[in-house]
């Protein structure tokens, strides 16, 4: 079992406390003290599952700004994919062409990969099924509702689009 560092406990504590304050939204001293105690306990118990790398990675303003920008980039992709799948579902001919493709991923950090996998799953039309590692390179298995490209690299470009580059700016 890995020993938990103070820095990771502290950043988990900040995260939990922020959520507590935003959820309760009452600023009496009772609420604030209870929140601090509860989030400290949660942070001590869960910091080692929550943080595997540098604890203050996201506290860098450039990365945080990129994370906020990423939300808007992602919403645009989400809208396009949603309209596409809604059109397919409502089309009388049901124009689908499903398949499972294997796509290479150029990200290294665990957070970056899980963020990309979750983004791909959230856009309708693509679901990440599994992640494997081969010869030091990571691959996603993606179920795709309309297989336009069977070639791995081209399919990867079509599915990931610009999302991967944006995530690389946040998590490397």
């Amino acid at each position: 079992m890995k020993s938990t560092k103070f820095s990771s406990i502290f950043s988990t504590f900040i995260f939990c406390y922020l959520f507590w304050i935003l959820f309760t939204w009452t600023f009496t001293s009772q609420e604030l003290i209870t929140g601090a105690v509860v989030s400290f306990l949660v942070a001590v118990l869960t910091a080692r599952f929550f943080i595997h790398q540098n604890a203050f990675h996201l506290f860098n303003p450039v990365r945080f700004f990129n994370l906020v920008l990423y939300i808007f980039v992602f919403l645009k992709e989400l809208w396009k994919a949603n309209v596409d799948v809604a059109k397919r579902a409502l089309n009388p001919n049901l124009p689908i062409n499903p398949g499972i493709v294997k796509v290479p991923v150029g990200l290294e950090s665990e957070y970056g990969m899980s963020m990309l996998a979750n983004s791909i799953t959230l856009t309708p039309g693509t679901i990440t099924m599994d992640i494997t590692e081969e010869n030091g390179k990571n691959y996603f298995y993606i179920h795709w509702i309309d297989v336009a490209e069977k070639d791995r690299e081209k399919a990867g470009d079509a599915i990931k689009g610009t999302l991967e580059n944006w995530i690389r700016r946040i998590w490397k």
């Binding site: 959520f19 935003l22 959820f23 939204w25 989400l78 809208w79 949603n82 799948v85 809604a86 397919r88 579902a89 409502l90 049901l94 689908i96 062409n97 499903p98 398949g99 499972i100 493709v101 294997k102 996998a117 979750n118 983004s119 799953t121 959230l122 856009t123 309708p124 039309g125 693509t126 679901i127 990440t128 099924m129 599994d130 494997t132 298995y141 179920h143 509702i145 297989v147 069977k150």
Partner: protein, 111 residues
């Protein structure tokens, strides 16, 4: 302002409708999952965004913030369940109709 909220709610309803039609019409479990993501993303997000603007017009900040957090938690937790269900369906032997290519079945023929 309140009409903007209505517009977002109508968009949410439309995508939830399209997703439901997709779930009923798609041929196999995996394609149905794809269509159900339609409901989970723009369906709920549209309705929640409408509720967010609606609660801002009521000048109720704490309600607006809670709605925003519901949206964030849906975005974080939904895909995890999504690929768990998809992988579990594949491993328990649910057959897909007319796959154009199946790299997963080729790499893991025993599963």
């Amino acid at each position: 302002m309140i009409y903007v909220a209505y517009i977002f709610m109508i968009i949410g309803c439309f995508f939830a409708f399209a997703g439901t039609v997709g779930v009923l019409r798609m041929p196999d479990a995996y394609c149905r999952m794809q269509s159900s993501t339609n409901i989970a993303t723009l369906g709920t997000l549209g309705a929640l965004l409408g509720g967010f603007i609606f609660s801002l017009t009521l000048k109720n900040t704490s309600m607006a913030l809670k709605i925003l957090f519901i949206a964030i938690f849906i975005i974080i937790t939904n895909p995890v369940a999504g690929h768990a269900i998809c992988k579990a369906a594949y491993k328990s032997g649910v057959k897909a109709e007319k796959l154009t290519c199946d790299d997963y079945g080729r790499d893991f023929p025993n599963e």
